[in-house]
């Protein structure tokens, strides 16, 4: 298996996007990580099929989608969050979503800048992964439950901000 540097860089770059996609499809962090590993293995095995300059992300998403389907077949029903019916309704249709997601990431930076320092710090702590939820609650002098509610509200606030900006862009 001879991997080119470009392939490795593309694969590294797409990791978080793939994880986001898989987490959305499986609604379970551990399962998403497991399928991400399988997807990575398949991508590496098929590295020769990849033509530099083509859309690596789209190719990786397609492979990830197949891996989700294969993974679901190997799992007992009780382990999976979504029923087959809901899974079919939710995915994949990632082509349109992928470009919207790129736009969302771009608008997110602007919306984050508009937040208060305190709220921004809370999101940083949550997403940088350096602090456990216990520690965040301790640092802000609150309960874990209250922190989760606050984080949820902040996401809703960001969602509103991003939606407004995307509407302005005509997306």
């Amino acid at each position: 298996m001879e991997l080119s540097e470009e392939f490795i860089l593309e694969l590294t770059e797409v990791q978080q996007r793939l994880f986001g996609f898989l987490f959305k499809r499986l609604a379970d962090r551990e399962q998403a990580r497991e399928v991400l590993q399988r997807t990575n293995l398949v991508l590496c095995r098929k590295a020769d099929n990849y033509e530099p300059g083509t859309n690596f992300k789209a190719w990786a998403m397609t492979v990830a989608n197949y891996e989700v389907m294969a993974y679901r077949k190997t799992q007992v029903r009780e382990r999976l969050v979504f029923t087959d019916e809901v899974d079919a309704l939710l995915g994949p249709d990632e082509d349109g979503r992928s470009s919207a997601q790129s736009a969302r990431v771009a608008h997110l930076s602007h919306c984050l800048q508009g937040m208060s320092l305190k709220n921004r710090e809370l999101l940083d702590w949550r997403y940088q992964g350096e602090r456990t939820m216990d520690k965040i609650a301790e640092d802000v002098g609150s309960t874990i439950g209250a922190v989760k509610v606050k984080l949820h509200r902040l996401r809703r606030q960001l969602l509103g901000c991003i939606q407004n900006r995307m509407k302005e862009d005509g997306i």
Binding site: Q15, A27, Q128, G129, R155, L159
Partner: protein, 452 residues
């Protein structure tokens, strides 16, 4: 909004919050399925919310590349739930370099020269570490549970920590910037190239003591708990339990060092074991004495500028990480060499004097050990950028109660102390992340304020 619509929207709202931050119960999963199946609007909102969560992870999170391990290290790919390298914060970025670096290195290659049986296993680790195995294979992708076949472990930064266990249960720990070679071809042999390590050694086979070599000494260990600290021209052996034979290489002189004693093997002093000195509670850096064992770029006094230590970068190359992120760190040894152990008291305060070129968040931390030499964690506190003025000297006095266990050690928190009290300070360190903030420190002091 109709009553029914409001109901599922509120429910979905709560479920998505739980999904992202918590996890769903069986009942939650059933209800989520129900809502998503019947409400097209719910599916749309599900996508939007989860996409935002993904975007926040992309934008704010430090990427976790451990799922790449399976395609990098064949030994880890069969694990159903691989243990992520417990690096916190910037450690993940190091893992990125690790992942890509190994990817390049191992693609198209299979290890060939490994002995049949591993001699030890990694039990705990954290921070930037580099393992060079037999045949020169470099591996930064170390994980707890990885088998070792002999080679050299190197702690790349002050907050590196590594514990291994030989097949007979003997344990070896390095913390901080240290380099230790291990081998076991029927007789265990360690070579401490620099830094320090501690060990808890099970009784060894008769006539085959564990050998510990440094530049200036040879220690023969039959079964005991001890630590070794190596400098350029001297080595300090501290024995906590049992007995160790120490030989000074320059003249072949030998002594036996018993429990709670230590000996310094150096040319300029007698090779005589002495009782371990009583611990102290105060300590002050003395950068005017030169670079010594400090980790950083030492600068002598110049004009009004006192001698100081500048951070040194640990940079990921552009090839390995497009963001080219860099950790800027410095550290000073405290209870090392022949210095008496410095023990933290609840009322201990940490004074740091220095300067920063551009104001930036600063991490202030300490690596601690227990009285028996065991690693006791890294504790740190973070001061926001607003506390510092660009280009101006600063002096901060930190309370020990503000120091918390480094989150990257959360995985091992059960076995580590919850608070830094009554522990021995191995070293103190400061760092900034990513941006070159130009941090320099001229003095660190551990003090106990006297009551007026």
């Amino acid at each position: 909004m109709k009553e029914e619509e409001k109901l599922w929207k509120d429910e979905l709202d709560a479920l998505l919050g739980k999904l992202v931050d918590d996890g769903l119960t069986v009942a939650d999963k059933a209800r989520l399925n129900e809502i998503l199946q019947t409400e097209p609007g719910a599916r749309e909102f599900y996508h939007e919310y989860l996409d935002l969560h993904g975007a926040l992870e992309e934008r704010l999170g430090v990427p976790n590349f451990s799922p790449l391990n399976a395609v990098i290290d064949p030994e880890t790919k069969e694990e159903s739930k691989p243990t992520p390298i417990p690096f916190g914060g910037w450690g993940w970025a190091v893992a990125a370099a690790v992942a890509i670096g190994l990817f390049i290195q191992f693609s198209g290659q299979q290890p060939e020269a490994k002995p049949e049986l591993p001699i030890a296993q990694i039990t705990k680790l954290s921070g930037p570490l580099l393992w060079t195995g037999n045949g020169g294979q470099v591996n930064r992708n170390l994980q707890a549970g990885s088998k070792l076949f002999g080679g050299t472990i190197e702690g790349m930064a002050p907050d590196a920590w590594f514990e291994l266990e030989f097949n007979d249960g003997s344990q070896v720990v390095i913390a901080g910037n240290s380099m230790l070679t291990i081998s076991d071809l029927g007789q265990k042999e360690l070579r401490l190239r620099e830094g320090s390590f501690s060990a808890n050694v099970m009784p060894q086979p008769k006539g085959k003591p564990m050998l510990v070599r440094t530049r200036s000494a040879l220690f023969e260990v039959m079964g005991t708990r001890f630590s070794v600290d190596a400098e350029l021209s001297s080595s300090t052996l501290t024995v906590n339990e049992g007995k160790v034979r120490a030989t000074r290489l320059s003249d072949g002189s030998t002594v036996e060092v018993t429990a709670r004693h230590r000996v310094v093997a150096a040319l300029d002093c007698e090779l005589i074991p002495e009782e371990m000195p009583d611990s102290v509670t105060l300590w002050q850096s003395h950068l005017e004495n030169g670079r010594k064992r400090n980790y950083g770029e030492w600068m002598p006094a110049h004009g009004a500028e006192p001698p100081h230590l500048k951070t040194v970068p640990l940079t990921l190359s552009a090839k390995d990480d497009r963001k080219q992120r860099t950790i800027h760190t410095l550290s000073m040894p405290v209870s090392q060499g022949d210095h008496p152990p410095v023990v933290l008291q609840p009322e201990t305060k940490i004074r740091v004097r220095g300067k920063i070129a551009s104001n930036h968040r600063i991490w202030f931390g300490m690596t601690l050990r227990r009285e028996n030499g065991d690693f006791a964690g890294r504790f740190q506190t973070i001061l926001p950028a607003e506390e510092f003025k660009s280009g101006e000297p600063f002096e901060v006095v930190l309370n020990l109660s503000d120091y918390h266990l480094d989150p990257s050690l959360a995985q091992w928190a059960e076995s580590l102390p919850k608070a830094p009290y009554d522990l021995i300070v191995q070293n103190v360190w400061c760092h900034t992340l990513w941006d070159p903030a130009g941090l320099q420190v001229s003095e660190i002091e551990l003090m106990i304020p006297t009551e007026e």
